[in-house]
Symmetry: D3
Subunit: 315 residues, 6 copies
């Protein structure tokens, strides 16, 4: 169950109305890397952790709830940045027509002009935030990544926090309002904090690579295909040992010939003798047993229940 407190987590303030920045800031209200995306992503991931991993459930819901609180901070800031847009839209006197004013120079009406960069502030939302990105695309759940496996989900979250961080970094370039900057710096920093929380949580799950249960096929895990002609570059991504599996990279310089000779990579013979196929199989088998058991739900006698209500001791 959620509760709401009328006080914001951070004391959001603005020096003056700035509808143009209100539009740009929408990116973090309803954009692909914004607060709603983060909140809904962690909230959705949490369902499958509720019983098997109560500590991760706790963390995901803490952070999800904080992101909803950040969504509120961003929305409040946009509302304040839109200033008197809402009020002006209620004026019906002829003299107040916007298009007339725009050719005038009355400074106090200037922000209406700016609001037109996003006309939906004026003709749809009536001077409040819209659940869209800064180009007006409505938020879509296509932004959410939730795949029912923590070794995947936590990595998705680290990446998501990275993206949210860089967007706040970019946004800081587009305002010189010190109060708005304070808010943006707070929000940006929290992404940095969350990143580290997710990373720490991932570290507690071992092994966590490859993500999931199935092991990779050593015939294919150590090859770098040079698919793009022209100048080539060497780096630890195609030379030396790989970061996680510690296999030696094999650089396939001419993939066409290589693929043809091996009948489409199916006839590779002895290729990666360092790999221990039996060990991999055994690892996969035992990991499968562990993970499957963790996720397993005992068939309820009478019913399955989410919370501890009544005299049941679940979950």
């Amino acid at each position: 169950m959620f509760y709401h407190s009328k006080e914001l987590q951070f004391n959001a303030r603005v020096s003056r109305a700035d509808p143009r920045f209100a539009r740009i800031l929408l990116e973090q209200f309803g954009g692909p890397n914004g607060e709603l995306k983060a909140a809904m992503q962690y909230f959705t991931q949490a369902f499958s952790c509720r019983h098997p991993y109560p500590d991760k459930y706790d963390m995901l819901m803490d952070i999800a709830t904080e992101e909803f609180s950040h969504l509120e901070i961003v929305g409040a800031t946009i509302q304040m940045l839109l200033g008197n847009t809402a009020s002006q839209l209620k004026e019906t006197a002829e003299a107040a027509e916007i298009s007339t004013l725009l050719e005038g120079t009355a400074a106090k009406e200037q922000y209406m002009h700016e609001a037109m960069f996003n006309p939906q502030f004026c003709n749809e939302s009536g001077g409040g935030p819209t659940v869209s990105d800064s180009n007006g695309n409505p938020w879509t759940a296509a932004y959410i990544n939730a795949n029912g496996d923590l070794t995947v989900d936590l990595r998705s979250n680290m990446a998501a926090e990275g993206r949210a961080k860089i967007v706040y970094e970019y946004l800081l370039k587009f305002t010189d309002d010190r109060y708005v900057k304070d808010t943006l710096r707070f929000l940006m920093t929290r992404e940095v904090a969350h990143f580290q929380m997710f990373e720490a949580a991932l570290d507690t799950i071992q092994p966590n690579f490859p993500p999931g249960v199935r092991q990779s096929d050593p015939r294919y895990s150590n090859k770098y295909f040079n698919m793009s002609k022209g100048e080539k570059s060497e780096g630890p991504w195609n030379k030396g040992t790989s970061t996680k599996l510690n296999e030696e990279w094999e650089y396939i310089n001419d993939p066409g010939t290589y693929v043809n000779k091996s009948d489409g990579l199916t006839q590779l013979g002895d290729y990666n003798t360092a790999a221990d196929q039996d060990g991999l199989d055994e690892l996969e088998r035992s990991l499968s047993e562990i993970r499957s058991a963790e996720m397993s739900v005992t068939s309820p006698e009478e019913y399955d229940q989410w919370c501890r209500y009544g005299n049941r001791d679940a979950p």
Copy 2:
């Protein structure tokens, strides 16, 4: 700021796994009339009420927060209905291949077959809810209606609650699990309660029709155009007096001729003598002043602030 409590608002239970109903129930998790839509709609509308209408802000945030809590109930129910899907997806032993099992008849695997009605439970979400409707369409903010005017928004909300109610009514036809039915009836009833809350709030705003500030044009507000040929029907929508403005309906039997004769409705002459144009103008003017003043934000001396932090007394 939001908080979360691990206990659900309603003690959601399921008798047994039922992946097929899990799919159908998605409609209220991420569908057009589902809980996320309701929660985000009221939450978004609340921003523009924060200062001018603190009582409505309180109500909108109370109900928005309850809807987030309902979203959690629906998600928890879906997770329980999916039963061991997540666990089975972690099994890698050859014998457990699903397609093999589907040709067998082992009843305990039957639900996997049913889960395939929505393959993304299996190949994307790993056995948890997806933020989509029952056909797999990702939730979109295009479902949200928030127009910055309470006489409009509250009506949008009443309609939204009506739709949410009927979807729960339909859903009750597709399960015979008594615990799931208890949950659905609770959720369905809350829509009925919310409907009445929004209606009561609308009643406190007077006048509230026409919605907004501008008055309608009496030349056009009392006409019914008979645009569709064939059998005609009479009813209070085209005969007698109109529900709100109490004008006499004028039935235009042959719109083509009528429109041509009036130069595209621009030459209507004296048509609706009951209407008091001057009175309408005056009403519009005074309403505009009131509403515009209500929404007006006094230019902050130093800064604008959302909450009461520090020694300011806002909002």
Copy 3:
């Protein structure tokens, strides 16, 4: 079957080209509360009324057809507001390059600059309307609400008319072209008229609350959950009797405690003694019989047919 007459329902005129307003006006061509949404919503709802409620079918098709006619008026106005955009796009002479002209001051080319607020007027539609909102989002059927129950659909329509009305009200702020204003006022007023038609139609269906057939659960229908902390407000939405069911509102001040004590609202004991559960059950039963019978289609002997062609007397 539809017909088209080349004359518009309203004599749409514009004083001069104004591509900027053309862009803003797109909101009512292909936006979420625009004419296409209204037309398609009523048209879609009408299918399920064809046989059971021929009078409502007649009304829905009359209004749907009028909305298609309004869509045409809006499109024609946008086309006129775009002025010579189409013609200029056909000019290939070097001197006519737009980017050059924009740095010049030739007033007659100014509107090209303005057209660039929505570049798709120039690089996609070739100087005509696009079926999108004012931010360029393509129209989507996600805007449509049609749920196969008139007590729901008519309320959706009233809300939709309210939203369309307020958008026209907002649009009136952004033009001072008297002819365009005439058109906008006509269109705005028709939304007011349609609202009242739908309301009158809803009144003829009794009972119409709760929408649909199922009755609400009296344990949950009269409670107001105070989910948001901080200053509280009282109003008829949480105090006194509810608007439709006339139950006494019960204000749950501390939902957390209340929910925990009642085992997630499942152990509420005697709570709402005013409610007559037997009466509700009986009402639901009889209503179900009536509505189900109304919608019932007799199994056709040879075939089912939509119209009265031939010697059948359907519908």
Copy 4:
């Protein structure tokens, strides 16, 4: 202005309910090549033809209006194919629970099971059509092609009619209801008729290739780049003369070398001596003048008007 007649253009009938085919048929109600797409495409294209090409405007509006009439036929057929779905959804008696019935064998309930192939027939639309394709994707204006140039738009329309035709052809495989087949054959044939209408209209515009005004660059118009290695094929698309410009195809066997030698195709020297650059320039210039003049709107003295109302002789 549109009108509606209650009689369908074609006497749509069904032998029996078939919810499964209802779902598949949705493809032509709200799918990418369905009737709504066609209707809205031609309707939108028509705006820019209203004044410059009144004969094409007449044709586009005739066909658009017919497509709206076909949309109605498809919707009516879906409604009939859904049979008693709507009625059953109104039944609240416990015995009528669907999930119970599905395990029974009562033949009269079988169609409910089938309806669940598209659960939104049950939990959203209440037993009527949804404005979506057969997978439940809501219709989007992204399907519409309207580019403000008849030599382009008419080709878009010919292709659209071809696609609509093949979808009806495929649909005929999935029903053996002779009445439904009659309807599908009618609709399929009309696409064939419309294709020819658009082709005839295109033929009246000369020259119509390349589409638009600008002529192609003879350095690049006659080259075929062999971008895909492996077996090669010869055909009139890379050998002989091209269909419209009658240039000799030049087959670039090794694009990499060719491109490098020519500094990225910028140093091609004398390459296509058959082409008459001066003639092309002259053609483009004169065509630009003609087309630009056709589309040109004379600046209105008082106002621009869409129809002939009043004593103006426009359009």
Copy 5:
């Protein structure tokens, strides 16, 4: 398998940064008629041609691959047009705040202002292209037409090339950078070349009209319904013989009466005596056999394989 060469197919250059044109040019990167749409459309169509029509497969993959190469050209041009946007976003010094600079007049910062026409260049992509159209709508596969029948797909492609051509034509109006114009002319011309390739390929398939296998119904293929009232126009689309089937057009002046008299077009009697129904049936039958056989896949003994690897001789 694809390969990449670092050299572009065309030597794309820009004279100077121009973020505003970068935004407009996005239309051909991620817009409905842009290069990604073309590439993915032909690539997708090619799958069903691989075995039955290897020559068409070769052509489709050649052109698809060229379109991917054009996508790269457009993206590279946008990157160059955005100039130092990326670099400036990395500057954190206070003096560099954009909103300050916008009120200044420093010419070297002017392009930042222009970049704000599409704020996502700044707050999302960090100064690179986004996979969207010029209004910021993300690319969607709804743009793709691939229907598994070459007589349809090739026509879709001709139309698509026509649209891509006109968009480039329009874009040429919005830049005076001679290097960018060179690139646009190259790309525009290639659409003209591709159009002719697809047309030539279509010509090799006979008969190719009606598209697909099923023949049209002569009762409905020769009728023109005059659905729109007002001035009428005659043209070869409603008078004379039709372009492909060479039937005489029958002009239905009053569709309402005609439809009613014929019981919804089902009682047309002898109407089109020129048509040879038996011949049509025979044609359809034989065509069905041919096309079905062409597409038929012989059931593999051991397995089906895409390429010629190993000692199989497929495809």
Copy 6:
């Protein structure tokens, strides 16, 4: 520039047609974590690396090109799994009607029934792949993450590879075709390989945390807010030192009180004395200079050029 070779990178085979698995496999053709997403993500990211980071550009284009090659493998497999769907759609003989056959038991037609799980294989694509996920949602560029900063983009890619890997892992549960499994294992393994390539590339960029240039605010980077009530959990994400910045986690047990006392976190006083604000500022300043310089494009004398054509030595 891209090239295509007709041989697949991997020798994709199928034992028999299986339209049901074809549908599920669509998830990796046009789904959110599928091959098209990966290919387009890396391809788009590459543009901004072309000049500043040629080695990363090389790697991104190598992997992007390999992902396009994987997309082809998935598409080819789907085409083979659909077997004779295309051929059967061309049959017009009455006896072949699908709905008849579905009630029969002819095993050879069984797969047609299964194909109907995704009706668009039958009524749109004509028996080939559609660019959508397994629920039919068209692919959207909203899946792409490209933010113009390698410390962010490479993390997005690692997460994306993790998701793609788990989807292949899940897919392996739904087929027992050994050839299809071989293909899936190859594709799954390549995601593991790519993950490690991206990780290695990220390691070469130092510092890479926080992502981007701006440093975090030490007042907010070390706090864990306990936003969700009920049982609490401890872990390295809220106790001990943080993973990257090595700050001591501060657990805020009662955020409401904490936030109120600190005036919305603005009055925190001395809180994190370990942090060196001056050091952070200096780090940010120097990093900003480096990164800004790296991305900087020298103003071209005559023009900017993407490749090395001609006598320029760029890039």
